[in-house]
Amino acid sequence: MNGAEYIVRFLEKKGVDLVFGYPGGAVLFLYDVLGRSSIQHILTRHEQGAIHAADGYARATGKTGVCLATSGPGATNLVTGIANANLDSVPILAITGQVGVESIGRDSFQEADIVGITMPITKHNYLVKELDNLPEALEEAWQVAREGRPGPVLMDIPKNVFTGTADFSEVVLSTRKHKIPFKNGLARQLGRITEVLKKAQKPLLFAGGGVVSAGAWEELEDFTKYTGIPVVTSLMGKGVIPEEEGGSLGMIGMHGKPAANLALSQCDVLLALGTRFSDRVTGNPQHFLADTCIIHVDIDPAELFKNVRVEFPVVSDAKKFLQMLLQVLREEKVSFALEPWLDQIKAWAKEYPLTFSQNSLLKPQAVMREVARQAVNQPIVVTDVGQHQMFVAQHYPVQGRRNFITSGGLGTMGFGLPAAMGAALGRPGETVILFTGDGGFQMTVQELAVMAEYQLPVKIFLINNSCLGMVRQWQELFFNGHYAHSLFTGGPDFIKLAEAYGVKAWQIRKPEETKEIVSKALQHTGPVVVECLVDAGENVLPMVPPGGKPSEMLGRWHGEAHISRLS
């Protein structure tokens, strides 16, 4: 058996039925074998599309996304997507071809040191120089991508390793010299955490993306039902708990909901699960919640004390932690009387609702609310990066599991379209709704070809404000309205562009057209682009200025027309 056959066989054994990729010289032998296998290969139109699609696929399914690229430019085109998956802890196996071992280091044609390049942005990476090492490296890579805190793993494989043959039937996978597992201190901490929670008057649960990775939806629901502790989320945690009345208070942080941010700033105990306390949440980490007792639970020990001060650090996955804590609370029959706190939060929500100003122009938030109103069967919601992303986070209540996909940590424009494609391919039969901006859409628009080819049920709402909205907003607020290179003065006819790819397209120009076109788009089978010509001057509010405290939100309060600071 040769190396290429071994790899394909390995992927099949791991249950991989779909990979994304783009061929080239260094991987031709791999493709030759792949083309004869049971594995479906999606030929994206750019390697960035392949890796973001693998990423969207992984987030939507919980499986490991696999993507392939050739050496040199093929591999370097993956870089943004790898960094994106790394910051959002998404399990991906990226296999790149490399020039033959003999040619490495000679600046050979299409040679790039992709292992060196991706070292700081992968969970781990390999250059497999010898065929003998291939089985063990593959097995380990597969494990590493998934175990603990997931992440992308890259394997760079020289051409001659694909073609070299060996008898793999005898291969015994030597187990790794396992390091001593980190002491999690969970048992010791549980009793003390219970005591703290018992005394808490204003407890708050903060759920991050780790709750999704751990698949702890049920546990979270049980826990909140029993305790009544209100929940806020990060962007990555959005959707872990339904966002309607009685559910999550919504997202906290720079563009968080007012009541959620106020609850955060006032809580006396913060139970933070699977979050890395990013600067979009904390503002200045040194002054973050100075008077609050913080319990921080994360599967990655390195996250504890990384950004904020913590009273109770716990190394655990969110699922196990919630199960065990709830068990203790039940056994001890701990009851919570949080009415005053919950009333306070309700009062905040009433006094500081999430609003947006209405005029005769189409508002992006109104489009999102209308889509959410009409969408049935809990669609997967995907966003690109920018203002529209924050509007979705604020105004679109996501339902169901693994149904919110966004580039959180890296904030990668161009992520949305291919990620939506990967999500649609990973969950056939389910509708995907993509909100994207006119900037980000153009960064990976070529993948519309794949959408059309496979008739993927992706409803693309292209929020066209003729500018790089988020950049324009910062320039308005912090650079005295000096809009340096953020306003588009030209651009494609998006309708014709979509149609050129064979994708149905409509336009919403006025608010009153919204209802009908949203309805048509949602009912259309296959991909659709709905170009929404929105008010270009709209800003994402509230906004905690960078470095500010959660309560220091800029917004329009009490129906006033001007923007002011809340506290």
Binding site: P120, Y126, L127, K177
Partner: protein, 160 residues
């Protein structure tokens, strides 16, 4: 800032040094010195790292190192009873007049002369940081032509 000495056992595979060094670069930690070599177990290498930083930085360094796939075990031996050694090679100017004096000095420090040139000597020394520093200082007046020293290797004393 306190200097910490970390003894890190790693799997002896290609790429391990880059992974560790890369981690320090990426997270903005400062390595004062790094020595790596095989251990009694062929498959395992040991790195002795000297890192400067406050408690928070050292804790992060340790935890981030621990996440590296090849890292087996990390020990912060800063506050342990250890035997520490560095090695020094130093070329000093030594005309006939100075030669005798240098030889006497080196006798005191128990160093070895490993090369004798017409106008210079190469001296080899091992010892802990204090001793190496003292040797360098004592030779400075004669004129140091070239100096090279390794980072520190450490071993915890006694049975542990």
């Amino acid at each position: 800032m306190v200097k910490h000495t970390l003894a890190v056992l790693v799997e002896n595979r290609p790429g391990v040094l880059s992974h560790v060094a890369g981690l320090f670069a990426r997270r903005g930690y400062n390595i004062e010195s790094l020595v790596v070599g095989e251990t009694e177990d062929q498959g395992v290498s040991r790195m002795t790292l000297v890192v400067a930083g406050d408690e928070r930085v050292i804790e992060q360094v340790t935890k981030q190192l621990n996440k590296q796939v090849e890292v087996i075990k990390i020990q912060d031996i800063t506050n342990e009873e250890t035997v520490d050694r560095q090695m020094l090679l130093i070329k000093v100017s030594a005309d006939q007049a100075a030669r005798q004096e240098i030889l006497q000095l080196m006798e005191i420090f128990r160093c070895r002369i490993v090369d004798i040139g017409r106008r210079s000597l190469i001296i080899e020394a091992t010892g802990d940081e204090g001793k190496i520093e003292a040797i360098v200082q004592s030779l400075r007046p004669f004129g140091i032509k070239e100096l090279v020293r390794t980072g520190k290797v450490s071993m915890v004393r006694g049975v542990k």
